[in-house]
Symmetry: C2
Subunit: 723 residues, 2 copies
């Protein structure tokens, strides 16, 4: 910074951040410049008594683990855990490793681990804590995820007691920074096709880890480029029992030291390459690893789900190779669960910044000559408030997911079905919320104009870091296909309960429906009786049961249509079946997306029903309606084409959304304040009140100037200048 | 990079970039692994004779200035003009300043300037050259834009001969890096409200430049933080003729030296602050400037449109202060025109990377055990090909915009009306293409998975740099409102030509239409006669006249609806009128968006009609149809609600879009190759053929292993292991 001239004299020259509230308390970031009266939106039904009880709502949003979240936020309020924009990559990596060790020293990073390792066997609580790290620095969060969520967790879940004793203490303390070596350059989301081999050699009682071709190199691995000294390596386990024919037992994991713990030099046979600079998360040293016939003791196999005897005989508690593979991978669901939560946290932080700024920033003079705050402009509300509603929905859905996760991992409800449900829900919500977060952060940055583009206002950095969340731990598009396939399987399951006659009738009905699609719309959803009065229509769309019926019906119908289209595949050749499936891929992905939207809406609705304060509940109902009717508006063509809404009723959707925006606008600041982030979490100058003070100074100056006797008069009020 | 182990032995260990083709020639980036036969999509109408003449299409895409674009690309193929990912900010800034001077030394940066300064008075050609800089480094492009497009251009367009003689040579050579000091912290897009004052002091014959309050500090200015030694400063010109009442003549520009050209120290009275790290474009030293009663000679006023005499008398060739303001700002339209072109170039580069990778990358085994290339998956096509169509449309529209710009600035067609048309078109297209570029680059990055997130593959860097294009040189949302207001004015103009009876009839008809909206759909667009056969319907939607009718009708209807809703504003109080306008803001922005889409579609259609090669033309027709019907699909609810499409016909839109995707898929590589970027422009490892080679090696290895006698057999083909 270079300054040789005095700063302008009017008012405070620059921002002073308000004193940080005690960590864990709900800060009031409401600036003094926000009008305290509700602007008159012209809607006579605007309920002026509706008001958000911000601390109570903040409590609701803290979910199942309020204390753990508060503690984690208190830690993340400390400078030492903050990302520093613009730090060179090498320094950023070192800083994050130090932060990781500082976190370990604080304790409680072990919550998910057994008590004998200092843990609490608390799986849900551990994730809740972990998710909060994102406001410190997403690099810290993901490095923590690599170390404890992937590397140590793989030892815990895929290994047995002797592995735990040998390796968990150093993994938990970060004395051994670890690599989770699953993804290969040639195979990301299709883990079953990886090429690395783990071959048993009975002569030496060793496993030989090998990278047979370049595309089989491990890639994008956190800790691989610099810090990692050991890795859990996934490969195809090959053994030849008693010297017989070698058998490929599919994907297994083995613990492999990769660097000397003293010198950090790569061990013999290990190759590594730095992935270099990335679009974000540059505090993590992602890199490649490859193996040239690297030998480790047979006992290094993490063999909970598959053991090799000294004579090469393979055994497993799970007979089916397919089920075994999915059981091993299933332990990784926590990654997706926690990314869902972290994405919600990042979107909340972005909205807190943009809404606060939108309530202070003034632009374009109104009829009285005074400039309006941005959030009073209808288009600004259209851009931000639906994302606020979506982020609320995503947050409530995440808490439900976290509860389901804890039920399974605590053993309270650990069945094949509950695991499958959990995996489907995690895949659907992770895809939905990571994409939402990117869209939200980008819109927030644009809504803050040039100020939003400055690193000091956080939005661009958060967006850059969150970018890869949409393709890692399962590419979102691939995840939605998994969800879609599960929906198809459930649909088939339902049909199986019907007898043949009923199925035939169902098919006939569907054919009749299809014929009707070609005629003008006559069909109406039974629960949504058509009435002519748009006011009453809007009232009905506001109804919880109507919204649910519309959203459920869409998912079910979309899935049924795909199932019907795929019916011929059962008797077709594999090639024709594959082509048929490819032809339905887009429709299946869209159905999965609709399913995720429905889950979120249901969670939001359940949360509204838990809300007791009437004012808060009223505002949350509006926000839930904005989310629900926003979805209906977005998919309006589908509802029209499939006869679920008449044109008359459909036309009321947008005007009702507009009314909701006007109703919610006065509560926008409360709704972002309830996220509970203080200035030490947001760390965005434009969300500190600085903009409001600047605007106040400018307006004071303008008023003083107007009042002055020697004030210049505008040219248009004088005689025309000489031409 | 640390490597202690030999790399895997099969095949080439890493990518070797193919030899770069001579700059200016069309490179063939088609990798050998792309299937040369068209995959069977099951569509009997797939025309196997359709084929793109890539060099001819590349020629068409080079537009009006093929030689200038080729020359600029040849320069940008040189290492010295390339951005270096991860360069620290300070070094990046220095590098870009050096690049700027190297460009100046190459000559031809002066094309837009008069011949006596080494220029060619070639306004359109100059922009075409400038746009191509984006593939070198967007920071270089924007720094060039600040120096020549804003700073030097302001001297040229707002000054007179003596200003040109005094300051243009040093501005053009970059001996004086210059600042274009218009935007203030408190005022971005609303330039008319800036607070900086330029007050004439007759006692010393000087102008006093002053920043009266902090929000009036100049902000986000390129060259302000470090390099700039002079600035064109915009402020409100105040003079008191012959000692009378001071008059505020509105926004004018003055030339102000800000740093010592020898020591680079700030001059007395000048304050500056660095904007610091940004979300992108970190090769540019954006910063703030403020002025504490800084005095410059009266003659420093850039006074083409407003002069101050020594006695303080103000005169201007333009009597109306409003028209004067817009005339002065109108010279800045070239910024928007060139950003439109640069955004298209960046989107093209992204698509070239993602489509090439999608044609080589394999994932998930198909029915024959072989993995498919990504672009054969229907969802991958759905993600990328509509963006390819949109980018083609945006490119053709840009060439039309550039022609309109050159017509005005060359004086060939410089009327008030043609200037207004140009400004509207530039605002609409700049908003559309900069948003398209962000969406496209993000989708491309996601379509490349983890590889897309690595800086070495360019996509994340391009997206980060392009981010601010959507809010600078006019925030896109503000620009769309300007477009919308122009559409409203045109609409009013049309109504004025009708007599009162006709207007009354029109209003009555519209009311009748509105009534019909509430009933099931009966209305059909006259040009789209409803027929039952979906095949024929699709055929009709494919028809150019039908697409045009649908797109034109939507814009006109939306504008007319807003106009009708605003009608009461004419007789209302300013407050009520403002509220009414705010209530229509979203609809007006959407109408402007639809207008931009229509312009693009028209330009695409005109380009198709200029295409003579039948195979190329056929493919371009499909691509244009994909763009046009993609728009109809996107806005399907509108067409249904407003009775423009029956449900039956609307249902054919998506299936026809799917058919177009299958038809275009085999031509995707040709369509991105025709963009004419070689590896030296794309500089993305994944677009060099490296991925194809890796995949080939992996497949060779798998085949060899299957053939080997001692190959492991999959467990599922053996007896079950012991449990």
């Amino acid at each position: 910074m270079t300054t040789t001239a005095p700063r302008p004299t009017a008012g405070a020259p620059a921002a002073h951040a308000p004193a940080a509230p005690a960590p864990g308390t709900v800060p009031s970031t409401v600036p003094s410049t926000v009008p305290s009266t509700v602007p008159d939106t012209g809607d006579p039904r605007l309920d002026r008594d509706s008001a958000v009880d911000v601390p109570a709502l903040a409590g609701l949003l803290l979910g199942h683990y309020p204390e753990l979240r508060r503690q984690a936020r208190a830690l993340m309020a400390q400078d030492r855990f903050h990302g520093v924009p613009g730090l060179p990559m090498a320094e950023h990596r070192t800083r994050v490793l130090e932060q990781l060790r500082a976190l370990a020293a604080e304790g409680d990073v072990h919550r998910a681990f057994p008590t004998r390792f200092g843990g609490a066997d608390d799986h849900g609580g551990s994730l809740a804590r972990f998710e909060e790290l994102v406001v410190g620095d997403p690099s810290l969060q993901i490095k923590a995820g690599v170390q404890w969520g992937l590397f140590a967790s793989a030892i815990l879940h895929l290994g047995t007691d002797r592995h735990h004793d040998a390796w968990l203490p150093d993994a938990l303390s970060v004395d051994v920074p670890g690599v989770f070596a699953m993804t290969e350059t040639g195979h990301g989301s299709d883990v079953s096709a990886i090429g690395t081999t783990i071959t048993f050699d009975p002569a030496t009682d060793e496993l030989v880890v090998h990278t047979p071709f370049p595309a089989a190199r491990k890639d994008y691995l956190g800790n691989a480029a610099v810090h990692g000294t050991a890795a859990v390596v996934f490969g195809r386990l090959v053994t030849a029992p008693r010297g017989g024919q070698p058998v490929d037992h599919g994907v297994h994991a083995v613990y492999v030291p990769i660097r000397d713990r003293g010198t950090n030099a790569l061990l013999p046979g290990i190759g590594s390459e730095d992935d270099g600079l990335k679009g974000g998360l540059n505090g993590i040293d992602n890199g490649r690893l490859w193996f040239d016939h690297v030998r480790v003791p047979r006992t290094n196999l993490l063999d909970r789900y598959g053991q090799v005897a000294p004579d090469g005989t393979y055994s497993s508690p799970i007979a089916s190779p397919g089920r075994r593979f999915f059981t091993m991978l299933g332990t990784l669901v926590q990654g997706r669960v926690s990314l869902d939560g972290a994405a919600v946290a990042a979107a909340r932080a972005g909205l807190a910044v943009a809404v606060t700024y939108g309530n202070q920033r003034r632009q374009f003079a109104g009829p009285g000559g005074d400039e309006g705050v941005l959030l009073d402009y209808a288009e600004h509300q259209r851009r931000l408030l639906p994302l606020l509603a979506e982020t609320y929905a995503a947050g409530f859905a995440h808490e439900d997911l976290l509860a389901a996760f804890d039920d399974v991992f605590s053993g309270r409800n650990d069945t094949t079905e509950s695991r499958e449900d959990l995996e489907t829900m995690a895949a659907a919500l992770k895809a939905a919320s990571t994409w939402s977060a990117l869209r939200t952060l980008q819109t927030c940055r644009e809504a803050c104009g040039g100020a939003g583009f400055l690193a000091t206002n956080r939005l661009v950095g958060l967006r850059a870091d969150l970018d890869v969340y949409v393709t890692f731990e399962g590419d979102n598009t691939v995840l939605l296909q998994l969800v879609g396939k599960r929906l198809l399987a459930d649909h088939a399951q339902e049909l199986r309960h019907l007898d043949a006659t009923k199925v035939a009738r169902l098919v006939a009905e569907r054919a009749a429906d299809a014929a009707r699609y070609r005629t003008p719309l006559h069909r109406a959803l039974q629960t949504v009786a058509d009435v002519g009065d748009p006011r009453r229509s809007a009232g009905q769309l506001r109804d919880t049961a109507t919204q649910r019926a519309l959203l459920v019906d869409r998912v079910e119908t979309m899935v049924a249509e795909v199932a019907t289209a795929l019916r011929p595949a059962r008797k077709a050749s594999p090639e024709v079946a594959a082509a048929l499936f490819n032809g339905q891929q887009h429709a299946l992905v869209e159905a999965a997306r609709a399913h995720a939207e429905l889950i979120r809406w249901e969670s939001f609705t359940a949360a509204v029903e838990r809300t007791t304060d009437p004012g808060t509940r009223q505002v949350l109902v509006w926000l839930r309606d904005l989310y629900g009717l926003g979805l209906v508006e977005q998919h309006l063509a589908w509802y029209l084409l499939n006869g679920r809404l008449s044109a008359g009723r459909a036309r009321t959707v947008t005007s009702y959304v507009d009314r909701l925006l006007a109703r919610l606008r006065p509560h926008a600041q409360d709704l972002v304040d309830a996220f509970g982030y203080g200035p030490e979490h947001l760390r965005a100058e434009i969300a500190t009140g600085a903009e409001g003070r600047r605007q106040d100074e400018a307006r004071r100056w303008a008023r003083a100037r107007r009042a002055a006797a020697d004030a210049p008069v505008p040219e248009r009020r004088t005689a025309r200048p000489a031409g």
